[in-house]
């Protein structure tokens, strides 16, 4: 479904991603695991196309020059230079890190904004689906999103991404700042997405413990370099991963 080959991303002279290649097959949950500054967010921005926007903005401000080399192929089509809005139309939807919601609007409005370009009936359908997935949001329907707790905001953020009807959902650090209980809830929801709706999920995360058991395939990044790949089980059995991420 998604093929990334020899991706290199420079922020001015700093190399954020170095010769990174990966593949995501349809119906899989693929995980990118790595510590801070591993290049997870850069990868997500490159896949969603946000980096193109960042590149233009930085250039206009005379800021850091962003250079991208390599190839991103989605369903057989080269999308390396495709704009982020066109990528969403193709089905790649990113849920950015740190709860990207509209704090001044209420929950229902947030979901409606996310589906603005879709047909009203489809949006209603998707909103029902989101409320089904996260029943906790139903009671918060008309509450301002800015006053939601971190976990509720993250649920809403994932819900917003879903309303845009992705075929490939990119989740950037979905567990950031959530309690273990909330983490479990979200992990179950992501599993449900794959099993019930057939949405392919690519998620990046620092917390390997809740993530590794659910992924079909994983990539371990460190300082922009690909260190290890394997299925979730293989990665969990790897002694280095055990030492670095599980403290065993």
């Amino acid at each position: 479904m998604l093929n990334v080959s020899n991706l290199m991303v420079f922020f001015e002279n700093a190399l954020a991603l170095n010769d990174f290649s990966m593949e995501v097959k349809e119906g899989q949950i693929v995980g990118i695991v790595g510590s801070n500054s591993a290049g997870k967010t850069t990868l997500m921005n490159t896949l969603s196309g946000l980096i193109i926007d960042m590149r233009i903005k930085e250039k206009r401000r005379g800021g850091e020059r962003i250079t991208v080399y390599g190839k991103v192929v989605f369903n057989g089509e080269d999308i390396t230079e495709t704009k982020p809005n066109d990528r969403v139309k193709k089905g790649i939807v990113l849920c950015r890190e740190r709860h990207p919601i509209f704090p001044e609007s209420d929950v229902l409005e947030n979901l409606k904004i996310a589906g603005y370009l879709k047909k009203a009936s489809r949006v209603r359908e998707m909103i029902d689906y989101v409320f089904n997935l996260f029943p906790a949001l139903i009671d918060l329907k008309s509450k301002k999103a800015g006053f939601l707790s971190g976990g509720e905001q993250q649920m809403l953020a994932v819900g917003m991404a879903l309303v845009a009807r992705p075929t490939l959902l990119l989740l950037d650090e979905p567990l950031l700042g959530l309690s273990p209980m909330m983490q479990n809830l979200l992990v179950e929801a992501v599993k449900g997405l794959r099993n019930n709706s057939g949405i392919t999920v690519l998620l990046s995360e620092q917390f390997a413990r809740p993530v590794l058991p659910m992924i079909d395939y994983g990539y371990v990044l460190e300082n922009g370099m690909l260190m290890l790949t394997g299925t979730g089980q293989e990665l969990m059995d790897n002694p280095e991963i055990k030492a670095a991420y599980f403290g065993v």
Binding site: E12, N13, D19, R60, G62
Partner: protein, 333 residues
């Protein structure tokens, strides 16, 4: 073979960043040149200018002062669209002191600087809690309001204004007074904003809640910056009023509000030198274009648009980067 352009600090920049800058004349020269250019440029050109261009230079410097004052306010996140408030208040205070009590410019200008600063600060104090566009709206409205107040109540000369004020002894004096004031504002404000105090100011612009969380009363700091900015604007007004020998409603004109903003955008915001350079391009340019008559504004606007599209970061940050860094092609893999 793929290539990309690399941006690297010049060796001399790295060397001149610490005490070793003093070890060779080359490094000292490197540090000195950018700082010497405005000093020599502003103070040294006087003999080469015709009387007409001297006048232009003086009014340019007045706009540059207003632009620098605008830039100081923007460093603290205060978007001001009312530099003419500062200019007008300064001009009326100095004008009134001179007109009614016969004070000489030697006293009216310093007093107007301080009193103008305090008056403007007090006037804007209630809206200091507002941010962004709300603060901007109030600063935009206040000078227009004061203008109508003068017109309606006929105080301070009403629509006629206060005329026949004491001029400066000669054009050379006024020329040097404004240039030196401009240099003091430029280097002084740069010093302030580079200090730890400036760190707080820039922090307020960046994320005021974080600054509050550090136990700092941001409104007190905003008040101080507002007073500094307003004082500089009032100085420009007091100076301008003695140059024109007139204080009146035109002091609140929109020109004094908008040109500083345009200068800052052209020159590069938050750098102080940028807005000054911007003013020194825009004001003389508008004089040169005077020959075109009504088409002047068209070309002026066109220039602004082209400039903002082509170099959105501003002239000064661009020059700064070229001075400190070089670029070269490198091959990857």
């Amino acid at each position: 073979m793929k290539r990309r352009k690399e941006r690297i600090d010049r060796g001399i920049k790295a060397r001149s960043e610490d005490i070793f800058a003093l070890s060779s004349y080359r490094e000292m020269f490197y540090l000195l040149v950018p700082r010497a250019i405005p000093v020599v440029g502003l103070l040294g050109v006087a003999p080469f200018l015709s009387p007409y261009w001297k006048e232009v230079f003086i009014s340019t410097a007045v706009y540059a002062l207003l632009a620098i004052s605008w830039d100081l306010l923007i460093s603290a996140g205060l978007v001001s669209l009312g530099q003419s408030l500062f200019y007008g208040i300064g001009s009326y205070v100095a004008g009134a002191l001179n007109y009614y009590w016969g004070w000489s410019p030697l006293f009216t200008i310093p007093v107007a600087t301080l009193v103008g600063g305090v008056l403007c600060t007090v006037m804007l104090l209630p809206v200091l809690r507002l941010r962004g566009i709300y603060f901007a709206m109030v600063t935009l409205v206040l000078p227009l309001m004061l203008m109508r107040l003068v017109e309606a109540t006929r105080i301070l000369g009403g629509t006629e204004g206060l005329t026949g004020l004491t001029p400066f002894p000669n054009p050379v004096t006024s020329f040097y007074i404004i240039q030196i004031a401009l240099l003091i504002a430029l280097f002084g404000f740069r010093r302030i904003i580079d200090s730890d105090y400036g760190l707080v100011i820039r922090g307020i612009n960046d994320n005021d809640r974080s600054v509050m969380s550090a136990g700092i009363n941001i409104y007190w700091y905003k008040t101080q910056i507002l007073f500094l900015g307003a004082s500089v604007g009032s100085f420009a007004g007091a100076f301008g009023t003695h140059v024109d020998m007139f204080a009146g409603m035109p002091g609140f004109a929109l020109d004094y509000s908008l040109l500083p903003v345009a200068s800052a955008v052209v020159g590069g915001m938050g750098t102080f030198a940028g807005p000054m350079i911007g003013a020194f391009i825009l004001v003389p340019l508008s004089e040169v274009l005077r020959a075109l008559g009504a088409l002047r504004i068209v070309f002026y606007g066109l220039f602004l648009v082209v400039f903002i599209v082509a170099l959105p970061e501003g002239i000064f940050p661009y020059m700064q980067r070229k001075y400190h860094q070089f670029e070269r092609w490198v091959e990857i893999e």
